[in-house]
Amino acid sequence: MAACCDRAEARGVRVGLSIEHAVSLIGSRFVAILPFTPEADRTALAALGRWALHFTPVVALHPPDGLLLDIAGCEHLFGGESSMLALLAARLDRLCLPSRIAIAPTIGCAIAVARYHAAPHNNVSVEQVAEVLFPLPVTALRIDDVTADTLAEIGIHTIGQVHRIPRTDLAARFGGELLRRLDAALGLVPEHVEPHRPVAPLSEFHDFDGPVTNLAVVEFVAHELLTCIVERLSAQQHGARILEYTIRHADRTQSVVRQSLTRANQNLAHIWSVLHPQFQRLQSPFGVESIRLEVVASDTVSAHQIPLWRDDVIESRGDTERAFGELIDRMAQRFGNAVVFAALRVDTYVPEQAYTTRPHTDTQTDKGAPNQNVNRPSRLFEEPEPARVLAIVPDGPPARVEWRGAAFGVQFARGPERLALPWWSAPVMPARDYFEVQLTNGRFVWLFRESDSGRWFVHGEWA
C-alpha cells in the first residue's frame, strides 16, 4: 500500500500495510484498489510542474509528490505572497488536488513546513523561521532514515532539540549532512532550486491542401521538413539518432519511414542520402494528406564547421567520428541492417563467449572493458581445429605443429596461459593451456592443449 484517502486513514489504514489488512480494517466491500505506478506519478508531477509555470519561471520537481516554486520577484504579480498562496490553493482545489503549501524564506523551511506543519497552508516570514521550524520532527530536515533512527534512539525528535546540541558534536556523530540540512533550513547556507525545464519534442508537420499523388512533391516536402529539423538540432548542438516520418494517406492509412543513425548526426546531406531510398519505395495510390517528422532520439554533438566540399580534409577527432558513423550508415543502408553489426565485449574467461554482437545503431558500449591487457587473436575460429603437436609433457610449449595437413616447426612460443573453464555450466569443459605460437612459415596461431585428454587444437590466428 503506497497511499490512501483520508477516510481510509481515519479507519487506521497506514502506508505499508498489505492490501488484505487494509481492506479488513475498512470492513467494507466498497474499496477502490488502484495499482501503484511510480512512473505515471512522476509523469503527472512533471505535467503539474509545467502547469505551475503560470506562477513562476523557476519550478523544480520534488518527488514523489512535491513541487518547488521559486516565487522571488513574482509574488507582486499576484498581489503579494498571501494572495498568491490563496490563489494557488484555489487553483489546485479546482483541479481536485488536495494541497499543502508553504511560502518560506528557505527551501528547507518551505519543504519542512509544507510537509509536516499542522496547518495545510502557511506563510512563514524571515523572523518566524526558527520559531516555526523547531517544533517540527527531525525527518522534516530531509535526512536519511539511518540518521533519523539514530536521533530517535537518543531521544531527539524535533528540529529544536537538534539545534540545541553543540555543532561540533553533531558533526562528529552524524556527519556533515545533518548540519548542512539544518543550516540550509535556517538560511545560514545557501541552497538553490534546480529548475525543471520541460523539453518540447522536436517535430515538424506539413498538411497538404488535398491528397497529393505526385511523390516527388512528397519527397520535396520531406526534405524541407528535414532541413528545418536539422537547423533546430544544430542550434541546440544536437544531432539526430533516430528520425521518424509519419505519412498519412488519403485512405486513412499511414506509413512510417524510420531511420536510425550509428552516431548522432546533423549533416543534412548525409541524413537525406540514407533516408532518400526509403522514400523512393513509398507508394501512395490515393495520395498523401499530411506528413510529420519527429526526432525520436537525439544526442549532443560538438560544434563543427560544415565542410564546403565533401572531400575536404578531415581534421579533428569529432570529424573522424562523424565520418565513421556516416560510413556505417551507408553500409547498413546498402547491405541491410542485419549484416552490419557491432561487437560487444563480455566479461568472461571463455574465449568463445568473450564477445557478443549488437545492432550498429545501439549505443550500448563495453562496460569496464575487462581483460584489457590480455593478448587475444584477431581471428577466433568458430570451432577449435584439431592439430597434432609435439611438445614436452605435461605443460611444455609446442615444438612442432601439424595442422590442416601441413607440418610446421615452431619459431617462438609463449605461454601457457591456463584457463579453467566454468564449472557451473554443463557440459563442464576441461582446463586449457593456451600458447601464442609463431610457426616457421611466419603465421601466429593460438594453440591450446586440453588438460585431461592432452589433445591439441588451433583456436585462432593473428592476422
Binding site: V346, T348, P370, N371, V374, R414, E417, R418, A420, W423
Partner: protein, 335 residues
C-alpha cells in the same frame, strides 16, 4: 595471544633419518614452504581452514607452512594447534594490504616475540583507523613497526612503470637482509615475461626472489567454493563474475616437486642472471638457490627461535646480525 609455539622442540619429520616411507627423500631434496597462504580468516577470499592447510602441508612434506591472512593474524591459533600435532614448523605472518600502494602487498613474518608484538600493534593501529572489517595501513606505518620483521613483496597483476624506483626505496627502508620478492607461477598470461621483468628489477635492486603459490585453498577441489566466495564479495552471480574470478584453479598447495619443476623451468632466472645472453635460460642455479634461501627464511621464524636461543640472537636490532644468526641456524639445521 600466547607466545609463539615451538613445534621445533622435536625435529621435523623430514630431518629424522628413520621414517623414509612417510617422507621420501625426494621431497626432502626439494625444500619448500608455502609463504603466501590465505585462509578463511580472510573473509570471502580464502576457501580453506588453517588446519586444512597445515595438514596438507604436512602430507606434502613441506619444510614449513606459513599462514598469512590479509591484515589479520586470526588464523594463526588454529593453524598452530594442528601444526603442533603434526610437528610441522608453522610460520606466523600476515599479508598487509597497503593504502595508495596498489601494485604490491607485503607478507610480513615476525622473527621473535617482540616483533610479533609490534606486528599486532601495527594491525591494531590500522583497524582502529578504519570501519569494522577494514584496515587502513600505509607503508610508513609498516616501516615504523618493522624491526625484526621479514618482509616479502608480492607484486600484483598490474605493474606500473615506476616499480624499479619503488623497489630501490623499499630496499633502502627494509635492508636487503630482510626483504625479498615473491615470484608466482599461476599460469597467467604473459607471466613468463612478467616474471623476467620482475626478476631483472629485483636483481637490479639486489632483492632476492622467493617462489610462492599464493594459496587460496588447500585442495584444487575448493576452487568452486572460492569462486562462490568471490561472487558473494562482489555481490554478483557467478555468470556475471567474469574476470573477477581467478582465471584458473592453480592456487592450491602443490607438491613441492611439482612446484620445483615449474619454478626451475619457468622462473626466468636467465633474465636475472648477469649473462647478457639473449636466449632466456630457464634453468638456473640462481632459482634453486632462491628456493633454498627461502627455507633459510622460514627456519628462523618465531617458533624455532623463541626456545632455542631465547631472545639472545635477536637482542640486537641490527638486521645484519639477525641475518647472520639466521644463516648459521640454517647451516646447523640443514647441513
Amino acid at each position: 595471544m600466547p607466545d609463539a609455539p615451538n613445534p621445533k622442540a622435536r625435529m621435523h619429520p623430514s630431518h629424522t633419518s628413520g621414517d623414509e616411507s612417510a617422507h621420501p627423500r625426494t621431497l626432502a631434496d626439494t625444500p619448500y614452504a608455502e609463504l603466501a597462504v590465505t585462509t578463511n580468516f580472510t573473509f570471502l577470499r580464502g576457501a580453506s581452514h588453517p588446519e586444512e592447510y597445515v595438514q596438507r602441508a604436512a602430507e606434502l612434506g613441506y619444510r614449513a607452512i606459513a599462514i598469512t591472512d590479509h591484515n589479520t593474524l586470526g588464523g594463526v591459533v588454529r593453524a598452530h594447534i594442528t601444526a603442533k600435532e603434526l610437528r610441522i614448523p608453522l610460520v606466523v605472518g600476515a599479508r598487509l594490504i597497503l593504502q595508495s600502494r596498489d601494485w604490491f602487498s607485503l607478507l610480513v613474518f615476525p622473527t621473535n616475540r617482540d616483533a610479533y608484538g609490534r606486528l599486532c600493534r601495527l594491525l591494531t593501529l590500522g583497524k582502529r583507523r578504519a570501519a569494522k572489517g577494514d584496515c587502513l595501513l600505509t607503508l610508513e606505518d609498516v616501516v615504523a613497526h618493522s624491526a625484526e620483521l621479514l618482509v616479502v613483496i608480492v607484486p600484483n597483476a598490474a605493474l606500473p612503470a615506476l616499480i624499479p624506483n619503488e623497489l630501490g626505496r623499499l630496499r633502502d627502508v627494509f635492508d636487503d637482509d630482510r626483504l625479498s620478492m615473491a615470484i608466482t607461477r599461476l599460469f597467467e598470461p604473459d607471466e613468463v615475461d612478467r616474471n623476467a621483468t620482475l626478476a631483472a628489477w629485483a636483481d637490479a635492486a639486489s632483492i632476492p626472489l622467493v617462489a610462492v603459490n599464493d594459496a587460496h585453498y588447500h585442495d584444487p577441489s575448493r576452487r568452486l567454493l572460492q569462486d562462490v566466495l568471490t561472487c558473494i564479495r562482489h555481490g554478483c552471480t557467478i555468470h556475471e563474475a567474469g574476470s573477477r574470478l581467478f582465471r584458473n584453479g592453480e592456487r592450491y598447495l602443490k607438491p613441492a616437486a611439482e612446484l620445483r619443476r615449474q619454478a626451475v623451468r619457468r622462473v626466468p632466472c636467465g633474465a636475472a642472471s648477469k649473462s647478457p645472453s639473449a636466449r632466456p635460460d630457464f634453468i638456473s642455479t640462481n632459482c634453486a638457490m632462491n628456493i633454498r634461501a627461502k627455507s633459510v627464511r622460514t627456519d628462523l621464524l618465531p617458533c624455532s627461535i623463541s626456545k632455542r636461543s631465547p631472545g639472545k640472537a635477536f637482542a640486537s636490532d641490527s638486521p645484519k646480525e639477525l641475518a647472520a644468526s639466521c644463516s648459521i641456524r640454517f647451516t646447523t639445521n640443514c647441513a
